[in-house]
């Protein structure tokens, strides 16, 4: 069965067509397109208005690129939350209108859960139960996944998300806005052991929570000084900046790996599944590979195009939920700004 997925929870307008929950026929994300060239005219920066202006064309493009037409689609899936309410409403209402008019079942999905599901899409061989880690700009959560749809929360960040700390460190180092990937790139030239930045909550052996606020502040002090010992961050040499980036990255990622591995041992998980934007970080993948080697534990990541926000994971999850329980399809739901998938 073909599922059309729609995602408008934040900045991206996205649509995708997926066959049987796994095979991606198309995966369209608006920001990857040259909007001005494709559509002409000004595309507003305002996410909500932009979603409204683009959604029908993005869906059309997803169908066209997938080589299918709307009459081939058997199911529609849309992100219900969490996200910006104004943005979510566009996707939810569009999906409702589309599904209703074609008499198609519609499955509401959780954006964060879809990130977890993206790991399955890329790794059908994944064994359960797994330890799931969602590491992104907005989320840092660790949980046991007994099955898709069945999760038990182990811990989450008590302050900043890990991806957020990457972006804030990027800003401290004068790297471009939303610079998580720039930190990773700069870190390649630095010494990860140069500065002993704190590993948040790593000493609390029984806790699976995370904390990135202290690490952010430690980097701030290192770069800018504090009190009457202020420093000019512009005077840092390129090598010093690279060392800060590498040492920060190591501290941020080590805790993720350490807690995931510990949870996998404690709960006898058969694998680890990592999703969210930070799962694209190569150093994270290396650290996991090194750490899991001794445990003979497979660690799975989504393919790169599924790491960041996309609609293929939404279509995949929607299909899976519907296959498990056709009762999950409904027109009777609202967009929700806050929404927890961990139960």
């Amino acid at each position: 069965m073909l599922c059309l997925g729609i995602e408008t929870s934040c900045d991206e307008t996205a649509a995708a067509v997926v066959r049987d929950g796994r095979e991606i026929l198309s995966n369209i994300i608006a920001t990857q397109l040259d909007l001005h060239a494709e559509y002409g005219g000004v595309v507003p920066e305002l996410a909500c208005r932009r979603h409204a202006q683009l959604i029908d064309r993005i869906v059309e493009k997803a169908l066209k690129e997938g080589g299918v037409s709307l009459k081939d689609v058997g199911l529609v899936s849309v992100v219900q939350g969490p996200g910006l309410i104004g943005a979510l409403l566009i996707g939810v209402n569009f999906a409702k209108g589309l599904a209703w008019s074609r008499g198609l079942p519609l499955v509401p999905t959780n954006h964060v859960e879809a990130h977890v599901y993206s790991c399955f899409m890329s790794n059908p061989q994944m064994e359960l139960p797994a330890i799931g880690l969602v590491a992104s700009g907005g989320h840092t959560s660790l949980f046991i996944m007994e099955n898709v749809g069945r999760y038990r929360k182990l811990g989450e960040t008590t302050d900043d998300a890990v991806g957020e700390s990457f972006d804030k460190v990027a800003s401290l180092l004068g790297l471009p806005y939303m610079g998580g990937p720039h930190v990773e790139k700069l870190a390649l030239k630095g010494d990860a052991n140069a500065i002993p930045f704190p590993r948040g909550l790593s000493k609390k052996k029984k806790s699976y929570d995370f904390s990135y606020s202290g690490l952010k502040t430690a980097v701030l002090y290192h770069v800018k000084g504090y009190g009457n010992k202020k420093r000019d961050p512009d005077k840092l040499s390129d090598q010093e900046k690279a060392d800060v980036a590498a040492s920060f990255q190591e501290a941020a990622l080590e805790v993720l790996v350490q807690k995931s591995l510990r949870a996998a041992e404690q709960f006898r998980a058969k694998s680890i599944a990592v999703g969210g934007g930070v799962s694209a970080n190569q150093r994270l993948r290396t650290l996991f590979a090194e750490g899991a080697r001794n445990l003979a534990l497979p660690v799975y990541f989504p393919e790169r195009r599924l790491c960041t926000d996309n609609a293929a994971m939404v279509a995949g999850l929607g299909h899976w939920l519907y296959a498990q329980d056709p009762g999950s399809a409904t027109y009777d739901f609202d967009a929700r700004a806050s929404m927890d998938f961990l139960r």
Partner: protein, 182 residues
């Protein structure tokens, strides 16, 4: 940016300790809060001042927070939400990416973060006006990015690092608040 004057006080004043055990559950604002400057010597003290601030808030109040990265804004909100009776398990976290977190207390707390929001239009996109003028308390980090959207009766709080763990916190309570007219 206008800042209130006043001498710096230590967060752990005796008044503070007295207030610690009283917790109001109805919609009446509890202890009034005066404008002033505090020195917090630890994150725990910043939380404490936030709690005291939270207890002074009423339906429809807007609290604007100003200060650099790592100056204690989110830590303050942890206390503020607790002062409004937010449940422990709904932990206060940074909304930098998700832009908005909601905590349920004696009043709903809308925790907004404008770090990534660079235009007023983007803020309207979030449905900000529905929150800020609604049933709950709205607290906004990086409020300078939407200064013109803030209502007249906004409570303003400035944060500044003055030492490795010390923060200077200045609170400006809008005229008409302070417990007399409410």
């Amino acid at each position: 940016m206008p800042c209130p004057g006043g001498t710096a006080r230590d967060v752990k004043s005796s008044q503070q300790r007295e207030n610690q055990n009283s917790r109001k559950t109805d919609e009446q604002p509890a202890e009034p809060l005066a404008s002033g400057t505090w020195i917090s010597r630890s994150p725990a003290q910043t939380v404490e001042l936030g709690t005291k601030t939270g207890r002074s808030l009423a339906k429809g109040d807007v609290v604007a927070l100003y200060g650099e990265l790592g100056s204690g804004k989110t830590t303050f909100v942890k206390g503020l939400a607790a002062g409004l009776g937010a449940e422990r398990e709904e932990g206060v976290r940074s909304p930098t990416f998700v832009l908005l977190n909601l905590y349920k207390g004696r009043l709903p707390v809308y925790h907004i973060d404008l770090y990534r929001v660079h235009s007023l239009e983007r803020l309207r996109d979030m449905g900000y006006e529905d929150y800020a003028f609604g049933e709950g308390v709205t607290v906004i980090e990086w409020a300078e990015r939407a200064e013109e959207a803030l209502p007249e009766r906004t409570m303003r709080v400035w944060f500044r690092s003055v030492g490795k763990r010390s923060r200077e916190i200045r609170i400006q309570v809008p005229a008409g608040k302070g417990g007399i007219e409410r």
